[in-house]
């Protein structure tokens, strides 16, 4: 994960993990399979934290605020994992595109609920949720590449506003983005 997807070999992985090559192949069929497993683990964990944080508040907009806060906290505390799931997936070519899409799709339903609170819910573009999740991923990707993982949590109000605007309009979105969410460490 320090070297980037293309440069990592199975030998690197087993050396770092302190296991035998055989053990690697008992668990994974290939390098991509191993990356996929790492990515699935990270997505599952992120989703657990997001849902956990979101369930502590009632309205959908407040849940987006709380959930995104927990997500950014997780990403900034696990930069290596984030790098694997976000940066590498957008640069590692055809093999990784499934991984990228699965990560996006995992979060799509959480935003899709916003259509129920929006007066235009049925008319909104069908790929809107992918645009929102993909946009957030891209911003994180840029920050990780620039080595600015510490500043990721500061992005919260801007990203909340970005995510809520299509459902609620800019004014309401801005208001909710300005509210401080419950601290993610409490979970």
């Amino acid at each position: 994960m320090e070297k980037g997807y293309r440069a990592v070999t199975v030998a690197d992985i087993v050396r770092r993990a302190g296991i035998a090559r055989n053990t690697f192949y008992e668990n994974f069929s290939s390098k991509e399979d191993c990356f996929l497993a790492a990515s699935e683990f990270a997505v599952k964990e992120a989703l657990r934290r997001v849902v956990d944080a979101a369930s502590k508040v009632d309205s959908w907009p407040a849940r987006v605020n709380a959930g995104l806060s927990a997500f950014l906290h997780y990403v900034s505390s696990e930069p290596a994992l984030a790098r694997t799931c976000i940066v590498e997936a957008l640069s590692a070519g055809p093999a990784a595109v499934d991984r990228y899409e699965r990560s996006i799709q995992a979060f799509v339903p959480l935003f899709r609920m916003g259509r129920k609170v929006s007066s235009k819910g049925e008319e909104l573009p069908t790929t809107l949720e992918e645009t929102i999740v993909g946009g957030i991923f891209w911003i994180l990707y840029q920050r990780i590449i620039m080595g600015q993982t510490e500043q990721i949590e500061e992005l919260l109000p801007e990203l909340v506003e970005f995510a809520l605007t299509p459902y609620l309009g800019a004014e309401s979105a801005k208001r909710i983005a300005a509210e401080a969410p419950p601290t993610p460490t409490a979970s």
Binding site: G4, R6, L90, S91, A92, G93, P94, V97, Y100, E101, I104, K120, E123, L124, P125, T126, T127, L128, E130, T131, I132, V133, G134, G135, I136, F137, W138, I139, Y141, Q142, I145, M146, Q151, E154, L155, P157, E158, L159, E161, F162, T165, P166, G169, A170, K174
Partner: protein, 453 residues
């Protein structure tokens, strides 16, 4: 007998034939399995022909990728300028990109495969993405309060559009891309023009011909010149109301010794050929020194570029710092700093291009330096927080300064890309107003912006 295709190939210049063959092979086999031998076999050429143009497979990939990105940027700016209103401009850009990708499957696949070449390839892509983001970001000029949308919004919209297009191309579904355009446009328009304007985009059809709605002949005739046809009045309104005119400065980058001559030579060669198209022979010719002299100072083109970049940035930073320190009054210090920056870049268009545009495509080492240099301008704005009333400070976010520098650099780069470096000083009032408004409010900021020197 040569078949028709082979004859067509033979008619085109050698370098172009190699690049065409590269793109085909890479699309078929991916980066790892593409070899120089396969490329040459397809192109019907021999190894010396390859060596005349490229240093190896990596160089060949990056050169082709660089040209593809440059071509794409030209086409995008042309599409953007073919329309009058912002959403139409953006739609023209989206249609242009999608039309290119869905009509040329090999190039689309190449654009995915080339990322395997590593950080340098990715940096070139991200440079193009920054330009796309700045075209989306122009939507804020349509708003009553242009500062009300976060600067990350355009970046996020550009990035997620890329992700969706990328996935379709990888899956071999490039022919479905036109259906994506109304969806992407709808999401891109909403933050700037509101939800209803965004929904209206959904009922618009994909129409690549729409971009020639205005002055077809004029626009298409500009293609051959190799530069986008960007007249000052084609810019978004906030850029167009500026008076024309430029203040000729004496050439200040006067060269005294060989090293400086080589650096100036590199800048001229790059202005002529782009970074990837520049060879050491180009540099030594412009510098009027021998090849041996080049190697006495630098081990490679890259090393020469880094030296050039550092020299130029050092000069630029000195000017800005001197300008900023010329007065104790902060708003006027900012004005003087920006003015010094624009003056330097306008007087040295080749150096401006080198440090603001080519730096982003010259590989990760330089991109890192570029980001550090951009960051070095942040403290000038941060000083502006001192002594502001609490309600102003509450309005500022921790990333305000970074966003201001980013916005400023993006406007400057766009002009340079459009070949308008010499007119950069016209941007002064707008940049002053744009950067001071968060601290002083728009009335006070526009007063400082409107002052005469």
């Amino acid at each position: 007998m040569l078949d028709l295709e082979t004859r067509e190939r033979a008619a085109s210049p050698e370098r172009e034939r190699i690049v065409e063959a590269l793109i085909e092979i890479a699309a078929e086999r991916g980066y790892a399995e593409t070899t120089v031998e396969l490329i040459l076999e397809r192109a019907g050429l021999d190894r010396p022909a390859f060596d005349r143009h490229f240093r190896g497979k990596y160089d060949c990939f990056l050169s082709a990728w660089q040209e593809m990105n440059e071509g794409c940027m030209r086409e995008m700016l042309e599409a953007y300028n073919s329309q009058d209103e912002w959403p139409d401009r953006l739609r023209a850009v989206a249609c242009e990109i999608v039309e290119r990708l869905s009509n040329d499957a090999d190039r689309a696949t190449f654009a995915v495969e080339v990322l395997a070449a590593g950080d340098a390839a990715r940096a070139r892509r991200d440079m193009t993405m920054r330009v796309i983001a700045s075209l989306i970001d122009a939507g804020r000029n349509e708003m009553d309060d242009p500062e009300s949308v976060p600067h990350t919004t355009a970046e996020a919209l550009a990035g997620s559009a890329y992700g969706q297009v990328y996935a379709k191309v990888v899956r071999g579904q490039a022919d479905e891309l036109p259906n994506l355009v109304p969806q992407l446009m709808s999401a891109a328009v909403m933050p700037y023009l509101g939800i209803d304007a965004g929904l209206a985009e959904l009922s618009r059809d994909f129409d690549p011909s729409a971009r020639y709605g205005r002055d077809v002949a004029k626009k298409s005739s500009s293609r051959k010149s190799g530069e986008p046809n960007v007249a000052a009045d084609d810019y978004p309104p906030e850029l167009a109301r500026l008076p024309p005119g430029r203040h000729g400065l004496p050439r200040e980058f006067v060269v005294h010794n060989q090293r400086e001559r080589l650096i100036a030579g590199l800048a001229e060669a790059i202005a002529e050929n782009g970074y990837s198209g520049t060879t050491i022979a180009h540099i030594t010719r412009h510098a009027a020194v021998s090849r041996r002299t080049f190697y006495e100072h630098f081990s490679s083109k890259d090393e020469c570029f880094v030296a050039a970049y550092d020299t130029v940035m050092e000069q630029l930073q000195e000017r800005v710092s001197a300008g900023f320190e010329s007065t104790d009054d902060w708003p006027h210090a900012v004005r003087a700093g920006i003015s010094a920056m624009l003056e330097f870049l306008a007087a040295e268009p080749h150096l401006a291009r080198l440090c603001m545009v080519e730096a982003l495509v010259a590989g990760p080492v330089v991109v890192e330096r570029y980001d550090a240099a951009i960051q070095s301008f942040v403290p000038y704005f941060q000083t502006g927080r001192e002594g502001r009333p609490p309600e102003v400070l509450a309005r500022l976010s921790p990333t305000t300064e970074e966003a201001l520098v980013g916005g400023m650099v993006s406007l400057i780069s766009r002009r340079i890309i459009a070949g308008k470096a010499e007119d950069l000083e016209e941007l002064l009032p707008d940049l002053v107003e744009f950067t001071l408004t968060p601290y002083l409010g728009s009335e006070e900021a526009s007063k400082v912006a409107a002052e005469k020197d």
